[in-house]
Amino acid sequence: MRNLYSRAVKFAAMTMTDIARESGHRAGFCDCEYKILGEYIMSELFKVSSNPHIRSRATTNGLMLAVIIALMPAAGFGIYNFGPRAIAVILVTIISTVLTEFLFGLYKCGKNRPQEKETRSGEKSVSGMEQVSLVKTIFEKTTITDLSAVVTGLLLALNLPVTMPLWMAALGGVFAILVVKMLFGGLGQNFMNPALAARCFLLLSFPTAMTAFDCDIYTGATPLAALKAGEQVDTLNMFIGRTAGTIGETSVIALLIGACFLILMGVIDFRIPGSYIGTFILFVIIFGGHGFDPVYLAAQISGGGLMLGAFFMATDYVTRPITIKGQYVFGIFLGLMTGIFRIFGPGAEGVSYAIILGNLLVPLIEKFTKPTAFGYRKGGKHGEK
């Protein structure tokens, strides 16, 4: 009950600040506030807060869960395609990302503990209770419950070849969460997609392991590398996913099922994937050297990480522009960069680097695509209509 009152009083103070500012009584605002609190503190109170008083059902966890569900077809196909070792890679990366986030939270929690003890020093409580509440605080302080670490881990796993040594996969998970996400302030503060940054980190640190696509089932180059070497590829197999590659990137159909789910759920939209893939197709037609060749185009679209990147990595909320115009610009930039990397670059792949590069440009893109407020007129009030 005491808790409820203190909460109501807190809200009251907040709203009073609002009102005091509105009426412009800045000097008298304190009196007003205390009077209200004094008057109501002992009486029956309703909760008070600023408008609006209703909220939609969407939550951060819900969105993350939707992404996890949407990645399930791709992960499932990866396991079916590459065998049980894929499960091990997926589990290891997820465990390493979640554990890193948990431990980091614990460390931060530990740093804050002395202060908490001070405030509690007056209260005598049973040690068992203390422990329960400590565990509770840890879970509240650490952010693993928002599921974002699971998403990062899963995405990273889908970006790794199945033959990857497990310790490298785990290291990637630690890098993604610790360096890219938590050190920059945690959820919502990272400037690069953590999973992709970790993939690039692994690609630079362990190039052989990261490009070893030879496994029991498939030998030889990925279809994209074969395409680059001028060989024929089977586009139907590429669409279904029966080719060499990373765990999650091979099956276009599985990725599209997940993408459709996300679009239907309203989690992502067509702006970035559409402008990204559209620009990429145009680029390939113009500079690919094959002109408008449907087979070559289909192979370029289905091959490599384009589908995974366009629908699941480029659309990552935190690292894409928030402005609507900016999202188109971002998509077009990614399409151009991917085209340049794939066609003019030394390797066959380009999606990861294109997206990472795009992530870095987001603040700039946002700055130049700042929306104009509704009804805004240049030159003041009576400008052109």
Binding site: T15, N51, H53, A58, G188, F374
Partner: protein
């Protein structure tokens, strides 16, 4: 044909079924009525009665305190008990006239009904509206006679009656349109008389097809009046969004509707204009919806202004269960109240009691940059960034990102998956800036 609407907006649970089929009933106003002197935007009214005076129904008890102000009339007969500061729904203490009801409801003479509209000139009509104390009854409370006196009346092309009622749960305008559509159309005709070059538009959201049919039938013969159906979406009834939907003209926060040749008035206001001009009756009552899942019998009431919310709630059968939150107005833009012992005013559209407070039940998390707030913002702003600037008290960036254009509709807070209080943050900064401007 594409439906008339604006870009952005949300579709919250509308809850209108609770009270939409309940005909308007009268409420007994109780023993004591409180008339706050500031029920409108602008200078507070000045009391012209003193303690101990006897007042009658319809008697003016306070006169305007300036041009942008409005007089206040007694809605019951009785004795002035005292004049003292009282708490109003917004939480403020406002100087109020307190009248003890004698239960006689003795009326002043309202004067003979006006002969015909044709015989009245502009000054007479605006004068009657000013004397009747009419203010915008949709919530803002801007004195109506000021709205009806733009610098160039000839340039007004559209008189829009805001029948959108886009706030969830509210049904007072809906009932008014169903039960007294003649008065609504009559009030619009009065306004059309003021603006010779204007055409009248009744803008109704398409979730009220019965109202649209009714009003269309009534205005069949009227050349200058049309009924337009709007897409059902919040905040369709916001002034800027409404003007855009109906006329495709845009205004910003520094402009008035008259700047693009429009005048916008709410349903209740237009009916009040009709009664003031055609029947000579001042503004003494309004329709209040009492609803929410914590109200025993949700209903619509004709309330004498000044009646305590306790009395209005009693008429609806009191609470069902224990309410956690009581709101004056709708759930998107209304004010949460501490208690019920506050008077209803000219701008009180509803009393909403909710058994659960969704806001305090959800802990705000970090922004994940999802961009939902940007997509729904009818002002085309970036609410999450603005809120960020408020958190760091970066006034310059706040102004650069046009934070002052926010209309405080609440869409951004509503959709935020991280449950951040975006509207509240932007609102508080806007108030600081507005206070600075005044200095």
């Amino acid at each position: 044909m594409a439906k008339l609407t604006f870009v952005g907006g949300i579709h919250p649970y509308d809850g209108k079924d609770l009270s939409k089929d309940k005909p308007i009933q009268d409420v007994l106003p109780g023993e004591v009525l409180v008339y706050p002197l500031s029920q409108h935007i602008g200078a507070p009214a000045k009391a012209i009665v003193a303690k101990g005076d006897r007042v009658l129904v319809g008697q003016k008890i306070a006169e305007s305190g300036g041009f942008v102000s409005a007089p206040i009339h007694a809605s019951v007969s009785g004795t002035v008990k005292t004049i003292e500061p009282r708490r109003v729904a917004t939480g403020d203490m406002v100087m109020s006239i307190i009248v003890e009801n004698d239960g006689q409801y003795e009326e002043v003479e309202f004067g003979p009904p006006r002969a015909t509209l044709a015989q009245m000139n502009r000054e007479e009509i605006v004068g009657a509206i000013r004397e009747a104390g009419i203010v915008g009854m949709g919530g803002a409370g801007f004195p109506t006679h000021v709205k009806l006196s733009p610098k160039e009346p000839d340039k007004i092309e559209y008189i829009i009656v805001n029948c959108a009622e886009c706030e969830p749960y509210l049904t007072s305008d809906y009932r008014r349109m169903l039960e007294e559509p003649e008065k609504l159309v009559g009030g619009l005709k009065v306004m059309l008389k003021l603006f010779p070059n204007a055409q009248g538009i009744l803008a109704v959201e398409d979730n009220k097809p019965d109202c649209i049919a009714r009003l269309r039938h009534l205005t069949e013969e009227e050349g200058k009046i049309s009924v337009k159906a709007l897409k059902t979406k919040y905040p369709q009834g916001g002034e800027r969004q409404l003007i855009y939907a109906v006329t495709n003209r845009r205004i910003n926060s520094t402009m008035l509707p008259a700047d693009v040749g429009c005048v916008v008035n709410n349903v209740d206001t237009v009916v009040a204009i009709y009664r003031a001009v055609m029947e000579g009756r001042p503004l003494m009552e309004r329709i209040v919806t009492v609803t929410g899942n914590a109200v025993a019998h949700p209903a619509n009431f004709r309330v004498r202004i000044g009646t305590s919310y306790n009395k209005i709630l009693e008429a609806a059968g009191g609470f069902r269960g224990k309410p956690e939150k009581v709101i004056c107005g709708g759930p998107m833009m209304g004010f949460a109240m501490f208690g019920l012992e506050v008077p209803s005013t000219k701008t009180a559209t509803a009393l909403l009691a909710l058994s659960k407070d969704e806001v305090s039940a959800m802990e705000p998390g970090p922004c994940i940059n999802c961009g939902r707030c940007v997509e729904v913002c009818p002002g085309r702003l970036i609410p999450s960034r603005l809120a960020d600037y408020v958190e760091h008290f970066d006034e310059k960036a706040f102004m650069e990102y046009q934070g002052m254009e926010c209309c405080e509709c609440g869409c951004c807070s509503y959709v935020c998956p991280a449950k951040r209080p975006l509207t509240q943050q932007i609102k508080s900064m806007r108030k600081i800036q507005l206070a600075k401007r005044k200095k």
